[in-house]
């Protein structure tokens, strides 16, 4: 299979690899996928409680090159965004950016799921409901 240059770049130089303390209140952790499906992503965000801006993001992924690239790209994209903005990242944006072929679209879906799961975990810890979020214009 031929990979796009961007997938290869993320695979060779994955951004934001690592782990943050998942017991911290400011950290949201999303663990999605399953080993038997061939991909598992863990995406973590550290959110500023005042501004709701995602100040740090980390990931680790078990999966093919496209799965690694999708999650690496997701950490880059969520950093600096507010939680509400990050929720607007769509898997189709990832497909477009990485030029993923149809058989790899599930990798981008998983990355979107990981973002949502991490934000969901952070919200749960902090008792944030949808209405309390800082209103942000669509980007």
């Amino acid at each position: 299979m031929a990979y796009s240059d961007k997938v290869i770049d993320h695979y060779n130089n994955p951004r934001n690899v690592g782990q943050m303390d998942k017991s911290s209140d400011t950290v949201g952790t999303g663990l999605v996928g399953a080993p038997e499906c061939g991909d598992v992503m863990r995406l973590q965000i550290r959110v500023n409680p005042e501004t709701q801006v995602i100040e740090e993001a980390k990931f680790k992924t078990f999966g093919c090159g496209s799965a690694i690239a999708s999650s690496s790209l997701a950490t880059e994209w969520v950093k600096g965004k507010t939680v509400a903005e990050a929720l607007e990242i769509k898997n189709t944006d990832i497909v477009k950016e990485l030029a993923l072929p149809p058989v790899k679209i599930h990798c981008s879906v998983l990355a979107e799921d990981a973002i949502r799961a991490a934000i969901g975990d952070w919200k749960k810890k902090n008792g944030v409901t949808e209405t309390e979020q800082v209103a942000v214009a669509a980007h």
Binding site: Q19, G38, V40, F62, V103
Partner: protein, 417 residues
Amino acid sequence: MSVIEANLEVPAGVTLPIYMDNHATSPLDPRVLEAMIPFFTEKFGNAASRNHSFGWEAEQAVETAREQIAKLIGATAKEIIFTSGATESNNLAIKGIAEMYKERGNHIITQVTEHKAVLDTCKRLEKYGYRITYLPVKADGLIDIEDLKRAMDDKTILVSIMFANNEIGVIQPIAEIGKLCHEKGVIFHTDAVQAVGKIPVDVNSMNIDVLSLSGHKIYGPKGVGALYVRRRNPRVQISAQIDGGGHERGMRSGTLNVPGIVGLGAACEIAGQEMAVEAARLTEMRDHLRRKLESALDYVEINGNMEHHLPGNLNASFVYVEGESLLMGINDVAVSSGSACTSATLEPSYVLKALGLGDDVAHSSIRFGLGRFNTMAEVDYVGDKVIGIVSKLRELSPLYEMVKEGIDLSKIEWAAH
């Protein structure tokens, strides 16, 4: 942070890319090519032309090849039928026997890790009213001979069990299967594509009645294969599946591929002469690769029985690393993965699953196929490269991290998608 940069010095004498996928196909031996070339040009005759020297010359070359192939498997030349390859040989054997012996019975026994050319042929016969038993394999990839005994009944006409597996390299107990089949009066066919030319094959001592083989797995050309069909004790008959000029004793019509057949013959002769030395060399390189990988990495699982095993095969799972991402990191080395991600189906290898491997371990597997033209320097390079990439990808793997922290992955509720 630059995680994946296992840039290795390429040692002297090693040229990239390295081909280590010899179960898929093998390069043509230059000696084989040399034997073939005249039959493309000045010796172009049709082997079926009986009335001029061009035809006689071609026929003579075909008969020489028949002798060379027969000698390698302990058969006689008249028992060799030329085909376009092992897929055709398997189709002809199974469909041809099913049709010829349908008055005697409609039951065929095979096993789950066969090549698709056997499995899908059997599936088609099921549509025509044949009953097929697919024997399971044990965790080491071998069938249980007791299962075979139990599966046989008075309607059983054919047992088709491969000699050696193309993914995990295990060698089935062929002589035992052959003995049992002969005791019960059941025809025994074996797909011996991966075995012929690599390990000793003898159709008489092993009681093999019908055997498929291919040119391009043994440093011969693609597009040519053969089917051995026993003529005595018992005489096996096969209904033709391709009708026409009545070539190959009526079993397979079509003008013979003379250059291909000459190449297959030459490949068999070379394999017979060099088998002992080559098998010892491949086994040494294979074992070296295995030791190297296992001493540098944890969670390496070797798939398939290693006692009854092809010399050049090593199938290993690098658990907690996904196979396709591993292949991507060793893109200057040609190997195969049991990972689903390399196919459109997203299902991992059915062979590895038949051994009882979890999908996650099957996804992590790599098949190394060593062959005649690989060197120890290449094996060392590939070993170092794999070790480097596996280590880097495990730094990226949440599963490896969790296992290292003592978390039992089977206790986690994964959200399957």
